[in-house]
Amino acid sequence: MSLRIHNDHNRFKDIVRGRIKQNLKDYIKKGEFISKQGNDKITVPVPRVELPQFRYGSRSQGGVGQGDGKVGDPISASPDQDAGQASEAGSESAEHSLDVEVSLEELAQMLGEELELPRIEPKGSRRIKNQKLKYNGVHTVGPEALRHFKRTFRNALKRQISTGTYDPKNPTVIPVREDLRYRSFKSVEKPESNAVIIYMMDVSGSMGEEQKELVRIESFWIDTWLRRHYDGIESRYIIHDAMAKEVDRDTFFHTRESGGTMISSAYRLCADIIAKDYPSQDWNIYPFHFSDGDNWSVDDTRLCIGILREQVLPHVNQFSYGQVESPYGSGQFIKDLRDSLKSHQAIALSEIKDKDGIYGSIKEFLGSGR
């Protein structure tokens, strides 16, 4: 039964969704979601949903309570609990917010709508097949747990009527062994398009904690968005200073190396991984590289461009380079890439100044829908 309230409830949810979209920029900036996945619920504070009225501030009023205690005793819980606010004073806009649960999936969808990100058309011939079991058959043998009651009953009834043992006045139907039917499964092959994201990060001395945080948040959202479009998605992580190595996710985000920067080392490793594990006719490949743009030498930059042009770009859906601003870096690398590879379709370049820049940068990376 549908209740009348559901219209009002949906209306409320629309309003909340609208508010979330308005504040999406602020949510994206936050690093606290990045341990979440897919259908995980996350709680976002949605400001100013409640209808405003002139009312007393929660702090100044105080009240009357009942129980033991003498003057000066703290009363255990704070009475403004119901307002659901953090205990510290905070900025004014942070107060009066309603905590709303949304799934990451929904948030990613809103991100897509708000940034007007196009759907990604997976390439490849979908040659990778995945086997799935589907319960759609009926057998005469099987485990009792899978017994098909309706079919069994129907068979028993049919048999009793045809043999004349069915009595309408006493309609007891007793199935015998031959009447029993069981559900059974068949395996179905389902084509799937697969994707791999190869993250590369510069961890040379000039990349500070702040820069890494930017990379971490940005790669989280990119990951979330791409996951919406591919059933199976793999992630590979490469860190580099003057040398490149493949690491796991945790190390990727938390290592602090130091030393010089030879970007070509990472690109070479990336090209190797692609060549070895991900034949480009079957895989959608998304390499992302984040750096502060301070490469070792002009020669190395030239080498990088060479690797990209010949070994990476022809195989990938899109190669993305994000340059975070760092007080030490010269930021020359993005200019070099722009000069020599600008005409190439499969490359996306973006500069990320600070946390506010993440929003725009995501759009630059994912806006092409490749």
Binding site: Q53, P74, I75
Partner: protein, 501 residues
């Protein structure tokens, strides 16, 4: 949706109502409906009514109730509506003992609705009225668009606590006379003539030019004094309805919402009394008439959880119940009146018993002619306060937490009364609707030591602007200094004032 009451429950209703009637309760016919949790959440979101106008705020409330039910934080056992016949909803998953308790509770609420003076002007056909409002607003939505009507309702709901809850009880008689008085006041009589004993000197001492100048001066003054409204009015909703430039449908919507606000006001005015009364009677009827021996434990458990006190929040059920019991005892023993009050001997006072047996009659009288403020003011005594262990608390800015600030009876009682005044809403009135002679709206907050919430204040001024369509201002006190907050349609402005205007 309505489910037939099971024969078991119907029998129970008869039994409860007979016991209640025998005990002297006088109530409307009650119609019980049993609802499942989702339905009861819906009805509760609609503040107890099956049909309300479409608005997202019910959806918000529904979300909150459903969530807290889902997480096992709260459940609603019953809902009762002040209406004739009185409608009450029972949760279908209540145990049978719960249903017994709830029926006793509901019957006493019903008696309170019927007999307390605060409800004398209340619309006893509110279910129909609410449904009418809903269909009218739906029609406006069809005609003018959902967004537009809902947006307007949002603005109106922002001021729906700014009503004068006493308007229904005031007989408008003296108003007209005072108007006439004002007219007469500005006549010739006040023109200041210089004194002279000789009549023939008068035209030299007070020449015509001088008198004329005085007259002009007087007229000017009178003009200045012609304030609008003449006296500050607390009924902001009514004022906006009368004087704001609204279209017809907007006026209609505003008036409906004003009626609804007035309908709920008496319930807010008597929360402690009403819940206390219902708790007194459910306890009394259960223990004397209704309960079977095997219900005792469950009943005691349920009753105790309703009566739980908290250090941070006042429990109106508990406070009300204890006060009625205290009154009953005092009037039974004759612990009232001049002789008792003037007795200095504490021992004699404690064992004072004149065996008057007036208790029951007294509490029936009390439930008729008091509201929460007068109830607390009259019966919240020193002895009662000490016995129940009340204290008052406030926010300590240095320690950043709430501390007990007093155990003193006078302070506790003052805080309690303050928190009940004006239905716990700030006292705000319109002082000038032609502020600065630019038809801007000036409101004033009557400051009693508790500051307004700054964020909500601004948002409310914004919504008020939408109704009044001219800049809105509020005089209030912030951090112990008078301040004026303004909204001019685009920006907020805060101005510290050196003195109150």
């Amino acid at each position: 949706m309505p489910h037939q009451l099971s024969p078991e429950l119907r029998q129970l209703q008869e039994k409860v109502e007979k016991a209640a009637r025998d005990a002297g309760l006088d109530f409307f016919t009650t119609i019980y409906e049993v609802l499942d949790f989702d339905e009861i959440n819906m009805v509760a979101s609609y503040t107890g009514f099956p049909v309300r106008y479409p608005h997202w705020k019910w959806g918000m409330e529904y979300e909150r109730l459903s969530k807290s039910f889902e997480y096992g934080l709260s459940r609603i056992y019953e809902l009762v509506i002040n209406n004739n016949p009185c409608y009450a909803y029972l949760l279908d998953s209540n145990s049978f003992v719960d249903q017994k308790l709830v029926m006793c509770h509901v019957t006493a609420h019903n008696d309170f609705f019927k007999n307390n003076f605060a409800f004398q002007h209340s619309n006893r056909r509110m279910i129909d009225e609410m449904a009418n409002h809903a269909s009218r607003i739906r029609r406006y939505m069809d005609w003018y668009g959902v967004e537009k009507v809902e947006g307007f309702i949002d603005s109106v709901l922002s001021i729906d606590n700014l009503i004068d809850c006493h308007t229904p009880y005031i007989v408008p008689s003296s108003q007209k006379e005072s108007d006439e008085d004002d007219e007469k006041g500005s006549g010739d009589a006040k023109i200041g003539r210089l004194k002279t004993n000789r009549e023939y000197m008068d035209r030299f001492v007070n020449p015509e030019e001088f008198l004329e100048a005085q007259r002009v001066e007087n007229q000017k003054k009178a003009q200045e004094q012609k304030k609008f409204p003449k006296e500050p009015t607390r009924d902001v909703m009514a004022f906006i309805l009368m004087h704001a430039p609204l279209s017809r449908w907007q006026k209609d919507v505003l008036e409906m919402l004003k009626d609804e606000a007035h309908y709920f006001a008496p319930q807010a005015m008597t929360k402690i009394m009403n819940e206390g009364w219902a708790s007194y009677w459910h306890s009394r009827l259960m223990t004397h008439n209704i309960m079977e021996p095997n219900d005792v434990i469950d009943f005691a458990d349920r009753h105790a959880s309703v009566m739980a006190t908290s250090r941070t929040q006042l429990n109106p059920y508990k406070l009300g119940l204890e006060l009625y019991r205290d009154i009953e005892e005092r009037w039974n023993k004759g612990q009232f009146g001049l002789e008792y009050d003037q007795c200095d001997d504490m021992a004699a006072k404690a064992s004072w018993d004149k065996k008057l047996g007036l208790g029951r009659q007294k509490i029936f009288d009390v439930r008729k002619i008091y509201n929460d403020v007068t109830f607390i003011d009259e019966f919240f005594t020193l002895e009662f306060c000490k016995r129940q262990g009340f204290f008052s608390y406030g926010y300590d800015r240095k320690k950043q937490e709430f501390l007990i600030d007093s155990l003193e009876f006078i302070k506790v009682k003052k805080k309690l009364l303050n928190s009940l005044t004006n239905l716990s809403h700030p006292l705000i009135s319109i002082v000038d609707a032609n502020f600065e002679n630019r038809s801007e709206l000036l409101l004033e907050h009557f400051f009693e030591g508790v500051e307004l919430d700054p964020v909500y204040t601004k948002e409310t001024l914004r919504n008020l602007f939408k109704l009044w369509t001219r800049p809105t201002h509020l005089l209030t006190t912030f951090e112990e200094r008078p301040m004026m907050v303004s909204f001019d349609g685009e920006n907020y402005k805060e101005k510290m004032l050196s003195r109150q205007l």
